[in-house]
């Protein structure tokens, strides 16, 4: 039985086309992936991300525990600030990639992937048991009681203060929603509940992510759609979410990252703070950073008329198989096939001509610098 988010009825009412994703029944699109994608790049779109998991790590040992468990340095987070991070196993492989916010001096909110909730929760609980800080850490899997929506696009800032009026009551206390800077988070009262609003997203555009009790998430959704009407906001499905993040080369767990792929290999080593002291996976990650890994993530563009590249298609370099595509689609912004994949580091040079094999035929492509799409 597939799980449904609190917005399921709203999706049906809007004519969303529903598919299975990570055990959830989610909208892949409402009108068309291309329309929704371009609407986010141009103006505004809203996404149901209630399927994503939320965990709260609280207490005097929370900071020290997270710093020995995650790759990034949470000590850098002041109250009201978030950062992207990975959580690795001892082999440097990635358990999950996530966002961590410090919402109070001793309270952290983690946003984790839908398909990884159970694994992450088990991993974190096990790590807490083994940690010397265990007596000072309280852990809660809040995934069921909290929902989330992403409101993304350059014109969202025009109506965000109407959705969440006044200054934040917690996090970035006193700051208006429109004044939040990238990665900052604040709490606003909404329909008698406390909701968290962060200036973050997965689209490569300006925008916000809202984490709210499941009981009010539909009201946030409905109100955002109504207020965003003036900028022609559109509800957007997972299809546009995937094309948007692929254009800007954000990793998707299960594609660019998995338990056998490190953040260094996936090209997100910037979020691995090797200088912060010991943490899970550090030995392997430090070695990969110093000596190089055995595979490297590349971004590519198809250079001629070709079917869209898809995950699993083989990558050929100089006529020999060099790796596989892990993400691929037709870019609505560039109107050509784009993707990411893994190849040996020696073959990963930007500008190299490669080929993608599609149904037995090879089509020309070129390794390009990340992100594949950058706004003019």
């Amino acid at each position: 039985m597939l799980k449904r988010t609190p917005l399921f009825a709203a999706h049906q009412k809007l004519g969303g086309k529903l598919i299975e994703f990570g055990g959830w029944e989610m909208p892949v699109q409402y009108s068309s992936i291309t329309d929704e994608h371009l609407c986010v790049r141009r103006s505004a779109g809203i996404f149901d991300i209630c399927h994503m998991g939320e965990a709260l790590v609280t207490g005097p040992g929370a900071e020290a525990f997270l710093n020995e468990t995650l790759t990034n340095d949470v000590r850098k987070l002041t109250v009201g600030l978030g950062q992207y991070s990975q959580m690795c196993n001892e082999r440097g492989g990635t358990i999950d990639d996530l966002y961590v916010y410090r919402i109070a001096p001793m309270e952290f909110l983690l946003i984790i992937n839908a398909s990884r909730i159970e694994i992450d929760v088990a991993w974190l609980q096990e790590r807490i048991c083994q940690s010397q800080h265990r007596s000072g850490v309280i852990f809660e899997n809040a995934s069921d009681r909290l929902g989330a929506v992403a409101i993304q696009g350059p014109r969202v800032v025009e109506f965000i203060n109407q959705l969440f009026p006044g200054g934040a009551l917690a996090g970035m206390t006193g700051v208006q929603a429109s004044e939040l800077k990238k990665n900052q988070i604040g709490a606003w009262p909404f329909s008698g509940q406390k909701v968290w609003v962060a200036r973050t997203g997965y689209s490569g555009e300006d925008g916000y992510e809202v984490v709210a009790p499941a009981s009010v998430i539909e009201e946030v959704w409905t109100k955002a759609l109504a207020l965003g009407h003036t900028v022609c906001i559109q509800p957007c499905g997972l299809g546009a979410r995937d094309t948007l993040r692929t254009e800007v080369c954000y990793p998707l767990y299960g594609h660019e990252l998995d338990e056998n792929t490190s953040p260094i290999e996936a090209g997100v080593g910037f979020f691995v703070a090797l200088d912060k002291g010991e943490f899970v996976g550090r030995t392997v990650l430090a070695e990969q950073k110093a000596k190089g890994a055995t595979k490297k993530s590349i971004a590519f563009k198809m250079t001629g008329a070709a079917p869209p590249p898809r995950p699993g298609y083989p990558i050929f370099i100089n006529g020999a198989k060099a790796g596989d595509v892990v993400s691929g689609t037709q870019s609505p912004s560039l109107n050509c096939g784009i993707g990411m994949g893994f190849v040996p580091p020696a073959s990963a040079e930007v500008g190299s001509k490669i080929e993608i094999e599609i149904r037995g035929r090879k089509f020309p492509a070129e390794i390009v610098k990340k992100p594949i799409f950058r706004k003019a």
């Binding site: 892949v28 992936i33 291309t34 094309t243 070709a306 079917p307 869209p308 898809r310 037709q330 149904r359």
Partner: protein
């Protein structure tokens, strides 16, 4: 609501067939293009290829997925629509006219007669 033209024959897998003497023109229905949305690539068979009824012989790609197109009738492909290769959006905008896929010389007229009429196809798609 999807358009179903009365003069065409239909396959369960959402292809349409227009029969003119011993040749047939094949494309995908308005309902099919609605379901696919955003057609970004069409791979057509080569002219001269002989296909059996039910054989996968073309591929339609939307942003999200690749879908096989099955020939509703058997015979020799005599012409393909190069306009749809260079402008795949024709499948969305003109599924029954400019968005046709190929013409085929029918190997067996009975296969064409066995296809669904407009009323049966309408019933299948719940329209």
């Amino acid at each position: 609501m999807s358009q179903v033209l009365p003069e065409l024959k239909y396959a369960k897998s959402h292809e349409w067939v227009r029969i003119t003497g011993d040749t047939a023109t094949v494309g995908i229905t308005d309902h099919a293009q609605h379901e696919l949305t955003d057609v970004v690539f069409v791979e057509l068979p080569v002219a001269g290829r002989t296909v059996k009824a039910g054989e996968a012989c073309a591929v339609v790609e939307s942003v999200k997925t690749a879908s096989d197109i099955y020939s509703p009738v058997g015979g020799e492909i005599i012409e393909v629509n190069s306009a749809v290769s260079s402008n795949p959006a024709l499948v969305n905008t003109e599924p029954y006219t400019g968005g046709w896929f190929y013409k085929i010389k029918l190997a067996n007229q009975a296969e064409a007669s066995a296809l669904m009429d407009a009323a049966s196809y309408k019933a299948q798609i719940g329209g």
